[in-house]
Symmetry: C3
Subunit: 269 residues, 3 copies
């Protein structure tokens, strides 16, 4: 994967303006919609069992996020996921807080069991918990594990038959065979709520326009991380409030020039 | 309607600080509340069947928005709407995404059938779908129709016995007899989620202080559009994040001077 | 309580990065999470009956907020509250809109009856309504009462056996015996939705690291008010949008130096 392919995929999102159907948590709905709009995608949030199958089938991607899950919403996620599967719409899954409570862990496992997930994105603890590995988690933030994140990502990809993106200080994305490490991003992302959730939805926007989902996911991670770095340069010193606004600005602005200058992506074994 | 009448109505909102009861979607609740507060109104969100009738009757206006509808919430909307009708509180309705799924279309029709709606605001596709006309829609964003928006607005107003506001590049507002076209606003509004939903709630704030609802709706549209233009001048180049913040600032600041300078409202046949 | 003790408690929050479990309203979830992150705490929102007891017991504090209550959520609050009580986790309660509808008043009373609340924070009207005193309320904003706020706070603290914080132009915090009046803060806080709700969650973060809950609550009120004053100085003239962002920046930055310079806390009879 080279810089040009990443920039081209980003440009395709802006041109195609894909509809991204999100069933996500109440903390991040607004930020997710604004981030997708800034990027050039077209977000829709729809949760009711009466309509999720209809909405998912006309979308370019479906994003499922269990950040503030409840029984009704989980049923809607399964219905939407199955409808997406039937209609060839890629499903991106964010297992927020898997491992923090038994309910989250069980629900995350149920979703990957009943829906064909195309890409799963989480921190190391969440991904580990989805496949039954031990990893510490504190609330919905990753704790420190002592495993190797690349090994974990490949194992999860092989076990779940999906693209796996583990994000943290460095990001790892793999289909179980080919693996990339991405060193973009900025610590201020951890001071704004929903930056992980929005990234999952951004992967959805990329997956809607690029059928090679490893390329889609890696391009999303690089574009997102580069936008964050530029935003941090422009506004990071003022604090997390200003960074959040600058980041939305950069999602709308970031392009080939920036990706050429800042991208740090490397294929690893 | 002249500039002075518009500015006076805006000033009345700031003086009266009306309570606006919103039953709205989870994407825009925060932005709606902040926009109403900036403008000088007093927002309240209340959704539970146990309290919506009580809250609606003490409000200056009730705003119903089906952006992330579900069965329980729709029941609460009907209860609140009927309570508002009984107590002479104007009801403003935003049929978000009508036409995108059968469930949204049916629910929108049910609401206008069971509640006396004072003003309905949507894009052309949404309004068309509420009255059973064909119009393309993509997710919750308006597609391109080939009809005449003024004709559509008047037809909807006559059929629904309500004020109709269709917003888009130009806005149209009509009671079915008298019709205005408003050419204020800015394209950056489409890059911030909930600007349509907030506008509906802002119409609610104006309707709470001005019993001539055509004047109320037109004044709201002009004030909102002018605020957006000034915000775009001040911060638009930085991007949609900065524009969103500047827009909240301008909702708190916009006044007679600006409306005199920027308003573009014209009565049409 | 002196300036040094307040600054030390704030610093302890940043060092300990406590997990604060919020069951709060849909209007303010995002702002609450961002405010807690900016301050240096670790927010989690979890609402489902299947997990609230598990989440509350691992948290440093539990915050209950009835801003957009419904039956299911109230049940979850009671479950979470009882779990917190069993595990020695402090419970902070925000009775948003108590007095505005019968349902809110009854629910607020039920929560203080069934859960051992450590700190309750509201405006004068809300606190009055929780203990059955008369006070005018308009929507969810405090009306004007003619009672003495210090007397009301002490009465509520004695009756509820809890720390009571009544916020408004001046803030009062008391355990029923020792009472402080705090004159920090800024009127722009009333132009941003959720600043009261976030303050309640910030008290939660302080209560998670300081077992003297009167010190915790007073330190939170001073730190929060000082951050608001500095934010208003830096960005208040631009309007409420810019103030909101500057306030998040200041929550991340405010420290001993600022508290020494700006804090206005006084013990009263």
């Amino acid at each position: 994967m080279d810089v040009q392919e990443i920039a081209k995929t980003l440009e395709n999102v802006r041109q195609a303006n894909p509809l991204v159907h999100n069933i996500t948590n109440v903390v991040v709905t607004n930020f997710t919609a604004n981030g997708l709009l800034a990027l050039g995608a077209s977000p829709v949030m729809a949760y009711a069992k009466e309509e999720v199958a209809d909405m998912a089938k006309i979308a370019g991607a479906l994003v499922l996020n269990i950040g503030t899950l409840n029984e009704t919403e989980v049923e809607a996620m399964l219905m939407a996921g199955k409808s997406a599967n039937e209609h060839g719409v890629p499903v991106i899954f964010d297992p927020v807080g898997a491992g923090a409570t038994r309910y989250r862990t069980e629900t995350a496992k149920k979703i990957v069991r009943e829906v064909n997930v195309s890409v799963i994105r989480g921190n190391a603890a969440e991904i580990a918990n989805v496949i039954g590995e031990n990893w510490m988690i504190k609330g919905v933030d990753a704790g420190e594990g002592n495993g190797d994140v690349v090994v974990l990502a490949k194992k999860a990809a092989q076990q779940l038959h999906t693209i796996v993106a583990i994000t943290g200080k460095d990001d790892v994305v793999t289909d179980g065979e080919t693996t990339y490490v991405i060193r973009n991003g900025h610590p201020l992302l951890t001071k704004v709520t929903g930056t992980g959730c929005l990234l999952t939805s951004v992967i959805g926007a990329f997956a809607a326009v690029e059928s090679n989902l490893l390329v889609a996911a890696a391009s999303a991670l690089v574009s997102y991380g580069v936008a964050a770095e530029i935003a941090a340069k422009k506004a990071g010193e003022a604090g997390p409030g200003s960074f959040q606004i600058a980041f939305l600005n950069e999602l709308a602005r970031v392009g080939e020039e920036d990706i050429r200058q800042y991208s740090l992506i490397e294929q690893v074994k």
